[in-house]
Amino acid sequence: MERGTASAYSWVRPGTPRFFFHLAAWLIAAASLFSGEAQALPLFARQTGQNCVACHAGGQFPALTPYGRIFKLTGYTIGVRNPIPLSVMIQAGMTKVANKTNGSLVDPNGSGGNGAMPNDNYPRDGLFTVSQASLFAGGKITDNLGLFAQWTLDPYSQQNGQGKWVSHTASDQFDLRYADRLINPGRDLIVGVSLNNNIGTTDVWNTFNNPFQMVPSPIGPASLQANVFTGPQYSPMLTQGNLNAGLNAYAFWNNTVYAEVGLYRNANGIYSIMSQGVSSDNTTTLKGYNPYWRLALNHDWGANSAMIGLHGLNARVYSDPTNASSPLIRNDDVGIDGQFQHILDPHTFSAQFSYTRERQRYDDALWNPNNPAYTGSYANSSNTIDLLKLNATYIYLAKYGASLSYVSSQGSKDAILYAANPITGSANNRPGTRVWIPEVFWTPIQYVRIGFQYYKYTQFMGGSTAYDGVSSRSAKDNDLTFLYLWAAY
């Protein structure tokens, strides 16, 4: 999601004194952890004293094992309260796009006629880049209360007027839970409430609001990354990193039936702790209280675990996130998702799918040329988006892994929303994009992961060749290679 204008306190340019201040703060936080305990494990692992594999399938964040799901649903309260409830995480990598000359934003044919560098569309392409550093806090607070909170520093968040990169620290994930478990030989009932900042943050199967690749490709036009949706018309169920405030209640009965309902609103005012560092331009997105729901059937047998679920959201989104009286977009999302896991040391196999259909209905002023306040944003009064994600992963010894994902997002034709435009536009006014993502990774020690992903686009914005309507750019020109390093402590 494009982060709006800079606000004085949250933007820091790399190399400035203020940047080093932030960096020092991060390092101090990290160092204080090392002095804490001899065992080098992140936050929750220190609380339970267990290895990552106990809660994460094959030891790989974020996929959860059956036990990891219970750990989260019981409010992060299993274990011994941690004296230093902090963890740090860093992601770095190098992205390379297959062809960055054809279809420059400035010069569609890449001749550079007006002197602009086609490179500008692919900042930091082929350069090693620290894409994010995160600080986590939380864990067990009392017998029933626990927290999971993440703040993230993005060193290359945005370029300023002079083309210099500015970093940005913001609240990332927040999940404060109260949970209780009523268990006896006759029944097992986990009930809880969560105050959280993101649709999907509460979910324990990580299917519908999560890219199936653990480390998303870090830098480049957002639309070149698989299933990243930008623009106000998409609901927070499809977009990622939307910082809303949600109050959810959930129940998990006999490890079988899961039900959750939540209401989401803007994370401003008293809720702004959940959106610290996010300029208010980006938090005024939802009107009123918007219902979210999720139902799932779970079954564990032997070394296997399977889930089939439904998810949905009805949201009213402002077309202009800076203006609470701007025309509205109504999102009705409903989807089906599932997961299968087979975990038997030394093998971990998992398969996931998620399919979400979103219907967007626009206020009259957004699409009707006869409306005096006509904005010209959409050609239709409503559009649909269908997002399908598939993944299969195999991990050996919690160390070596390979996965294959497929993502398809298809939608209705809209001549304004999907107009011809270099790189990100569409010749046939359709958003259809299909990508295959093979990945291999290696986890030499449980808190370091090195991986390689390849994004193979077979369709991009409705076509495979000359798809953007202004250049001869092909879908395959957008193929990405991505080498990354992930580490947490």
Binding site: G49, N51, A54, G79, T142, Y178, N184, L195, G302
Partner: protein, 212 residues
């Protein structure tokens, strides 16, 4: 902006979460939490509420010998048991348990009724039965039953093996054979040394089904 609902929610969460809830606590650092509570709120996640573990990654504890359970928990707590699954899962959970909690947990699981996780292929079970009842005279391997009991029920610090998951048993036999990660099992090291992979699979399959 009306902040009252949010404030009320936050206050409610904090107030409700503020009190200690000994009956349903998952606190592994509080000596006052009863063993039965820990068994239900924490151990049951992997070992089952009735001690019959649903997943073969984890041992069933139902009907296990009390002395053996206590000895193992102390070994996890004291970091004497070094097998990967042992330290990855059990060191941390046991680190603050008191002797009284350990005794209570051992009592709880010893009192549960064990169930077979599933049958074994007849040929495999028959080969396993012979090893269990007669040992391997050629390989100088004593019958497992001499220490683990005619019915695989165990005795004091000789663990119960009947109705244990075959995958789990096999993994332990490999640990005994190839490593010194379970120092209390030195007697098992000699025994496991003489077993082939196929022998281990057979005896493990027989023990899981334990037809007679």
């Amino acid at each position: 902006m009306n902040a009252r609902p949010a404030l009320a929610t936050a206050a409610l969460l904090l107030a409700a979460g503020g009190c200690v809830n000994l009956e349903r606590s998952r606190d592994l650092g509080n000596p006052d939490v009863p063993a039965a509570t820990l068994a239900a709120q924490v151990c049951s996640n992997c070992h089952g509420l009735d001690g019959n573990a649903p997943s073969p990654n984890f041992p069933s504890l139902a009907g296990q010998q009390k002395d053996y359970l206590e000895a193992q928990l102390r070994q996890f707590r004291g970091h004497n048991r070094l097998d990967p699954a042992g330290f990855e899962y059990m060191w941390g959970l046991s680190r603050k348990l008191t002797d009284a909690q350990i005794a209570g947990l051992a009592d709880y699981f010893a009192a549960q009724r064990p169930r077979s996780p599933g049958p074994a292929a007849p040929a495999l079970a028959e080969a396993g039965r012979r090893i269990f009842k007669d040992g391997l005279p050629d390989g100088n391997i004593p019958a497992c039953a001499t220490c683990h009991g005619e019915h695989g029920e165990g005795n004091a610090t000789f663990p119960r093996l009947a109705y244990q998951h075959a995958d789990y048993l096999y993994k332990q036999l490999v640990v005994f054979q190839r490593t010194d990660e379970r120092p209390e099992g030195s007697v098992m090291k000699t025994i496991a040394h003489g077993l082939s992979g196929a022998d281990m699979r057979a005896v493990a399959a027989y023990l899981q089904a334990f037809p007679d």
